[in-house]
Symmetry: C2
Subunit: 195 residues, 2 copies
DNA sequence: CTTACTATGGAGCATAGTACTCCATAAATA
DNA sequence: TATTTATGGAGTACTATGCTCCATAGTAAG
């Protein structure tokens, strides 16, 4: 059984350059390591070693490995969510979804590791949370289907779709794959809630 | 880093009653324990203790905890897949999807633990694998969208949908929730591949 | 510049989980 | 009955986590 989490990270909000540098080093070290092996095979000691930072110091910033992953993922997800929202309520949905695929395709190394690095479930939860925050008010509550399930299906559908696309040996062009995304993931939910 | 897996489980196929009994005890113990806490907080020692079985014996049957979870999940998923397939190619899709929700609703304790017990990702992979095996041949390869993404979206959509439904405090009736399932998960893929 | 503050580094320790071995014993099959 | 074999139990090695103590070095305020 995993040991209990008893402590809280210090320095919740800080401007000390040492703090900022330490956190940046930890985040970068995680991104570097996750290129080589799945997340569950990366120990905190490894991360701190790669970052050139003391083992204890890790816990002064993050409660555990998951917290660090979430911090990294949240930053990256923010941009994805923006594009996702745009796609959901754009008049020109085709163009918006192409823009989304373009963005992910241009940051493919990062997103491949995020989507296939074993952090899938953390990413899923965070994606749902962020999408709920930003999209809930835009979705018609008068629909027969509850809002929550629409949000969730868009979130997991988007992640599954992007993960599938990025792991293709020969990737379809963004404009082409965006059509599939739109048809299978976006349109069903848009039709159900926004009409 | 988690230690390497160097060994293979013995007794791959066996009819010895001792083997069958040991495996059944391990599976039941896992199902019992997963009622109380998430999977990642359950150790192998705990499982073997609950099953009344020696710690070593575990490794004679399964390589690790994941292998046991997969063995249990596969058994349960078999039934779900059958209903899922039926829904996908039934003429009366509404009735078939209601039957699927009925089944899950009647085994809600089991499925709630499977869908929210932290085994989500393992379940997802196994669901996709089984659905691919059984559904691939039925899906039209002439479609513009690759078959694989359709299978994946149905799989993760179904799991997400069922997980959402089962964790509602006051659950909608199966017949009612099946309509939402059909509209948001099944129909989009069926329309894209089977028409 | 000096002083207080505080983030970091490093060593070390307790707990816990995994992977594995050896051997005696009990159960199954022939 | 004799042989095969699955199991139980004790024990070892290794690894990861959570945490403490204390000296040091970087930061910011006077």
């Amino acid at each position: 059984m995993a040991r209990k989490k008893l402590h809280q990270p210090h320095y919740a909000t800080a401007t000390d350059p040492r703090i900022l540098q330490t956190r940046q080093a930890l985040r970068q070290a995680l991104l570097d390591l996750v290129d080589d092996k799945p997340l569950d095979q990366i120990s905190i000691r490894e991360i701190t070693a790669a970052a050139g930072i003391g083992y204890n110091t890790f816990f002064r910033h993050y409660t555990d490995k998951e917290a660090l992953v979430m911090a990294v993922a949240t930053d990256e997800l923010e941009r994805l969510i923006e594009l996702c929202i745009t796609t959901l309520d754009a008049t020109d949905s085709a163009r918006a979804s192409t823009a989304l695929c373009d963005y992910v395709g241009e940051h493919d190394v990062l997103w491949s590791t995020l989507l296939t690095g074993g952090a899938t479930n953390l990413l899923r939860e965070e994606f749902i949370r962020l999408l709920r925050e930003r999209a809930a008010s835009r979705i018609s509550a008068t629909s027969t289907s509850p809002v929550e399930i629409g949000i969730r299906l868009v979130a997991v559908g988007t992640l599954e779709f992007l993960g599938w696309w990025l792991e293709q040996p020969r990737r379809m062009p963004a404009a082409e794959v965006a059509k599939i995304y739109e048809r299978l993931v976006v349109t069903p939910v848009v039709d159900a809630y926004m009409k």
